[in-house]
């Protein structure tokens, strides 16, 4: 006998802290691109979100990406959309969510990068600050 399967859940009014952990470089694999689609959808649900770039994930937001010769889709403009979502959340009193876009300082510096190299505005956090922030999350989605 099969159990009944519910396909709809009542999540009315529920708000949680989501963290999206990006640790992989772009283009070598699809994780960066598809993870970005997860971030975007969470905006539609007005959820709090921390979009974190750690380890090789910091390479995802390096500006000036040009994929023409490699023949792949350049998805870096989508980070600009994320940045706008964050600005809207910050400025529009009708949008009830807090977004933060953060980069781990050690990961950035080890790769010879500075915040100037990024296409979007980010908060650069020390490892201890990032550890505290991670520890405060309800749902951590990684890829």
């Amino acid at each position: 006998m099969n159990a009944e399967i519910a396909t709809e859940f009542d999540t009315e009014g529920v708000q949680k802290n989501f963290m999206f952990v990006n640790r992989k470089a772009p283009y070598g694999s699809i994780y960066a691109l598809e993870a970005l689609e997860m971030v975007l959808i969470s905006a539609a649900f007005e959820q709090n979100a921390v979009i974190a770039f750690i380890d090789d994930g910091v390479y995802q937001i390096v500006k000036g990406q040009d994929t023409k010769a490699a023949g792949m889709k350049n998805f870096s403009p989508t980070f600009g959309v994320i940045e706008m979502e964050k600005e809207d959340a910050d400025e529009d009193p009708d949008i009830d969510m807090v977004w933060r876009i953060v980069v781990e300082r050690d990961s950035m510096e080890q790769r010879g990068l500075t915040a100037e190299d990024f296409s979007i505005a980010v908060e650069v956090l020390d490892s201890a600050e990032l550890a505290d922030l991670m520890n405060a999350q309800d749902v951590v989605l990684s890829a």
Binding site: I5, F9, Q47
Partner: protein, 119 residues
């Protein structure tokens, strides 16, 4: 307690689907609920009904379908990830359905814990 499970890799290539399956089975057999398993990235390939492992190997597509039927688990394949990979209705195994990425966020909201399995 309610657990949401996310699977990021296809069957066989990485152990993610195996571990997620064993975890989900232990959870529901231990009295917890797993209302939904969400398949994203290459995880969408777990719903391919054409999968035909060797006779002495496990059949993950079938195992997921059976577990879902027995314990009322909603197996959701992400439509965007699936289209790109050619994982369409024509080859969708029993027990799975194709839907949007919003179902993942909803799962995070509806459950007490979200656990991700990937590469």
């Amino acid at each position: 307690m309610k657990f949401g499970v996310m699977v990021n890799e296809g069957p066989f290539t990485h152990q993610a689907s195996d571990t997620a399956y064993r975890f989900t089975k232990a959870a529901v057999e231990g009295g917890h609920q797993v209302p939904r398993v969400f398949f994203y990235f290459d995880g969408v390939n777990n719903g391919n009904k054409l999968s035909e492992p060797q006779a002495d190997d496990r059949n993950l597509v079938k195992l997921w379908g059976e577990l879902a039927a027995a314990h009322g688990i909603d197996l959701v394949i992400c439509v965007a990830a699936a289209l790109r990979r050619g994982m369409k209705d024509e080859i969708l195994a029993e027990g799975f359905r194709i839907s949007g990425l919003g179902q993942l966020v909803e799962l995070g909201l509806a459950t007490d814990r979200t656990v991700v399995f990937g590469d």
